[in-house]
Amino acid sequence: MEDKKPIIELKDVTFTYASTETPALKGVNLTIYEGEYVALMGLNGAGKTTLQLTFNGVIPNMMMGDFEGTVIVSGMDTDEYPVREMAKVIGLVFDNPEFQLSQMTVAEEIALGLENIGTPPAEMHRIIAESLEIVGLSGFEDRSPFGLSGGQQQRLSIASALAMKPRIVVMDEPTSNVDPIGKEEIFAVAAQLNRERGMTVIMAEHEVEVMAAYADRIIVLHKGEIVLNGTPHEVFTQVDTLKSIGLRVPQATELAYQLDQKRLASYAGKYPVTTEEAVQDLTDKFGKGG
């Protein structure tokens, strides 16, 4: 194991939105390490979005409610820094691509944050070009953000966050409003940021098969609490727990689980999570022929 440096630390975080009674997060303790790709899973309303909003201080700084505990991101206590300061460390991308856009051109959309922190124009142009290149939108500078496809809009949102040079990118169901090509593009960009640039990526996502293939770690939230937290293998092996809270496992895992249950094969609690692993396991257990 390489030396792991914590980049996000939550201690006993509890948050209750104003106008509601039950806490959206209940006593959450969590450490995320630099360079990790973390998937957040859970039912709608399990607390995924709320948790993500604590990472850059939107909660408690911009949301009404009761907040307890501490969130330290890259050494900064989110309670003490305004959200706009946190932008230099952590970028957020939300589920509805259109609701994050406001400018007339793609370049201006990215420039918005840079103008606010006083980046000199010459450097701004360089950063815009670089950010667009990372997300594969070079040449789109003068297009209207609202004329882009959903996948392109999400990549633009990622680029806008990247322009601030953060070390962490948080994405809240970034693919829920885009088509299959758009999904592929977003997953590819996220993986590239993590693998090639060593950025910490945190993604809330319903697509278990994809997350099983990409994420280093899966965190499962249920009713505001972390119920499972580990590698995809560790988490998806807990099929019964996941099913009891209404979540799906990858079909690769589900197949092994059922074969195990019906005593058609013995997996000894080590289920595959990806297509490749499932095919390999089937070959190991049943050979190549029928």
């Binding site: 709608n44 758009g182 592929e184 319903h206 209404g246 589900e254 089937l282």
Partner: protein
């Protein structure tokens, strides 16, 4: 004998602005009690196609006949009793102060008597399990439930055909399962269901026929098994079949190019060809 519900004859559509061809020469017959998936990337023409089914768009060439009505001669409002359209985003549909009022909107528009409106409302509440939400404000309930309310609001129109635009997007597993069950039950009641969806697991498990759109053309109209087995087609439309289908195609033990649609099918296939493991 299946009844013909929607018939497209040489259907074409050119958007007036910029003369963009959105559909070209689509021929299609949709019958009662079919469950159909319409797939393709955004911009492939799939939304343009289904918007012709309830008259939101009129053919610029060819014809669409819905339960015997030529859609070119009917208003959307008149076709609403034949074909129900549940939009992707429930927020585009819901406006009333309570779920009950929301459910009364459609049948009231149809000019039904008060008793009948109430009867339909009650039936929809029961069918979609909305008993606890009757008096809730549609905007104050969770997104998955809001989606069910928007489906229920269309259900009160008693259409013969339901169009569901992305019924499972952004939904968790529990709601997705609920949607699967509802689609099956709609069929049992005699309805036709058309799902415009990117969710291949949904389509593999629920649908009996898939219509694949690409570049304004209908390029395939076949069972999910046939569509998913056509790797060329999958590739050209950038569609990834469910994981279990990929496993089935890659592990030779299932048999020559076996196309699996669900985990249950895979388990059955292994069960029938392999003795239980002895280790």
């Amino acid at each position: 004998m299946p009844e013909e519900k929607i018939v497209c004859q040489n259907l074409g559509h050119v958007y007036p602005r910029g003369k963009i061809v959105a559909l070209e020469n689509v021929n299609l017959t949709i019958c009662s009690q079919e469950i159909i998936g319409v797939i393709g990337q955004n911009g492939s023409g799939k939304t343009t196609l289904v918007k012709h089914f309830n008259g939101l768009l009129k053919p610029t060439s060819g014809k669409v006949i819905v339960e015997g009505n030529d859609t070119a001669k009917k208003k959307v409002q008149e076709l609403a009793a034949h074909v129900g359209y549940v939009f992707q985003n429930p927020n585009h549909q819901l406006f009333a102060k309570t779920v009950e009022h929301e459910l009364e909107f459609g049948p009231t528009n149809l000019g039904l008597s008060r008793e009948e409106v109430e009867e339909r409302r009650e039936k929809a509440i029961e069918f979609f399990g909305l008993q606890d939400l009757r008096l809730s404000h549609p905007y104050r309930i969770s997104f998955p439930l809001r989606k069910l309310v928007s489906m229920a609001a269309v259900y009160t129109m008693r259409p013969a055909v339901f169009i569901l635009d992305e019924p499972t997007t952004g939904q968790d597993n529990i709601t997705t399962r609920t949607v699967y069950r509802l689609i099956e039950r709609l069929r049992e009641e005699g309805s036709t269901v058309i799902c415009v969806a990117h969710d291949m697991i949904l389509l593999a498990e629920v649908v009996d026929r898939m219509i694949v759109m690409r570049n304004s053309h209908l390029i395939a109209d076949a069972s999910p098994r046939e569509v998913f087995s056509d790797t060329e087609l999958m590739h050209s439309t950038h569609i990834t079949p469910p994981q279990i289908t990929s496993i089935g195609l890659r592990w030779p033990g299932f048999g020559e190019k076996k196309v699996l649609l669900s985990v249950d099918e895979a388990v059955t296939a292994i069960n029938s060809s392999n003795p239980p493991a002895n280790s």
